[in-house]
């Protein structure tokens, strides 16, 4: 029996990257979000590329990082477009960047292309932490394994299981990746982690970081965002 992770609700923010990424999120929404997140000691906040500067500025005097995204959330962009976005994120002070992988290459079984893209992404990111999104919800176990192999060969050691949009990550996915690649890969989970118990279960399964848009609920923090999703 492995040691169970014990995280008190008050400590949970250190394990959580909370995000506000939607089409109609305005600068005013982001300002409100950052102000509400700032006092609670979250690991990081994820915002879209145009809001990088604002997030870096608002959070400059606390330990909370700024995360951004590339080819997000659907992952259909070309490698060159991803590199362009990554360069922007790097220049604008991102601590880490979550990048969707090339799902068409994965589904084509072209793992050489997957590995090649990972290598180019790592070069472009330089000192910025890269977290790649294999979107486990659309992959077979064989594809998950081959994708993780390609990712490691390409020089990346961080994965985020899903984009958090539309596909959920199952506990079994985390256990599978942990068992196969746990010695080399740092696992971040996104997609379907809604409660404190969900988060604890994922941490126990081997995840190190939880992504959630309901971080306040998970941590029992009484804050309500100005932004309300329109369906």
């Amino acid at each position: 029996m492995e040691t169970q992770v014990k995280v008190a609700p008050g400590e949970m923010p250190k394990y959580i990257i909370t995000s506000l990424i939607e089409a109609d999120v305005t600068e005013a929404h982001i300002r409100d979000f950052l102000t509400r997140v700032k006092p609670h000691g979250f690991l990081s906040v994820a915002v879209d590329l145009p809001y990088m500067d604002l997030a870096v500025d608002v959070l400059k005097d606390v330990d909370t990082h700024v995360t951004t995204v590339s080819s997000y959330p659907l992952g259909g962009m070309t490698t060159e477009t991803k590199l362009d976005q990554i360069a922007f994120a790097r220049e604008h002070g991102a601590y880490d960047i979550d990048v969707s992988m090339n799902y068409f290459a994965i589904k084509s079984g072209n793992f050489a292309a997957v590995e090649d893209e990972v290598g180019r992404i790592m070069d472009a990111a330089q000192n910025v932490k890269v977290v790649l999104i294999p979107q486990v919800g659309i992959l077979t176990n064989n594809e998950k394994a081959k994708t993780c192999e390609a990712l490691l060969k390409g020089g990346c050691t961080n994965i985020k299981t899903g984009s958090g949009f539309g596909w959920t990550t199952e506990l079994e996915d985390v256990l599978f990746i942990k068992r196969m690649f746990g010695a080399d890969l740092h696992i971040e989970v996104a997609g379907g982690v809604r409660t404190y118990d969900d988060a604890i279960a994922m941490l126990n399964a081997g995840a190190e970081i939880i992504h959630s848009s309901t971080a306040f609920e998970i941590c029992g923090i009484n804050e309500k965002l100005a932004y309300q999703k329109q369906g």
Partner: protein
């Protein structure tokens, strides 16, 4: 209203935007598009080189879905992506606009985005996606006016990815297409996309001014057309 079979097929952007699609799925939609005479295949940029090779020498356009599905990146990044994908074989580009800019009335930012999109697209057919369910009618009209000023080729209702709410559904609505058509025709054309599943849906949208339909149900629409008119 009647529309002949060839013209009807020619309104359809045969759309495949499931991220789990592999070569088999893309090959299927490319073959269907050629067989039925659809206007284009609408696909992700990462799939464009593969589809462009398959459809080389046919009249089917290669339509790249840019910025899916949130559209939340900068005008320069959008311009970069547009140029890049045209070099890789896209002959039409559908880009999600910065919805947040419209919501916060930063019309200058949208003007910049549309202008850079037009410039980057050059002669390539450029469609800007409004994601109408998130906008007020006033915001839709303003975005349409900016699209006209930027000389874009199409305004398009939706990405088709969003359900919306019961009173503001995420797909193409007759009300929106009519509003957009009344604003932009004939300088700019209107593409309706999202939730077009039946022949009645399609004909109602064409009736109020749509000349392109973005949908994944193209083959079923043709079968329904043939059943009704032949």
């Amino acid at each position: 209203m009647t529309i002949d079979r060839k013209a009807f097929a020619g309104t359809i952007d045969h759309t495949y935007l499931k991220i789990e699609g592999g070569p088999g799925e893309i090959q299927r939609i490319c073959l269907e598009a050629e067989k039925y005479g659809f206007a284009s295949v609408a696909i992700y940029p990462s799939v464009v080189p593969f589809a462009a090779k398959l459809l080389n020498g046919t009249s089917v356009e290669i339509c790249a879905a840019l910025g899916f599905d949130l559209g939340t990146y900068t005008p320069d990044q959008k311009a970069f992506e547009t140029k890049d994908i045209i070099e890789k074989g896209a002959t039409e580009v559908d880009l999600v606009m910065n919805v947040a800019a419209a919501k916060s009335k930063e019309w200058g930012l949208l003007e910049e985005e549309f202008g850079k999109f037009r410039e980057a697209a050059g002669q390539t057919t450029a469609k800007i996606i409004l994601e109408t369910y998130l906008l007020t009618d006033e915001e839709k009209v303003k975005a349409c006016e900016l699209a006209m000023a930027a000389k874009l080729d199409f305004v398009k209702t939706s990405t088709g990815f969003r359900k919306g709410t019961p009173d503001k559904p995420g797909g193409a609505r007759v009300h929106d297409v009519k509003l957009m058509a009344d604003t932009v025709l004939p300088n700019v054309r209107v593409k309706a996309a999202g939730g077009i599943r039946t022949l009645d849906d399609a004909l109602a949208l064409i009736d109020v001014g749509a000349t392109r339909l973005g949908c994944s149900a193209g083959v079923q629409l043709m079968a329904a057309y043939d059943a009704k008119y032949s």
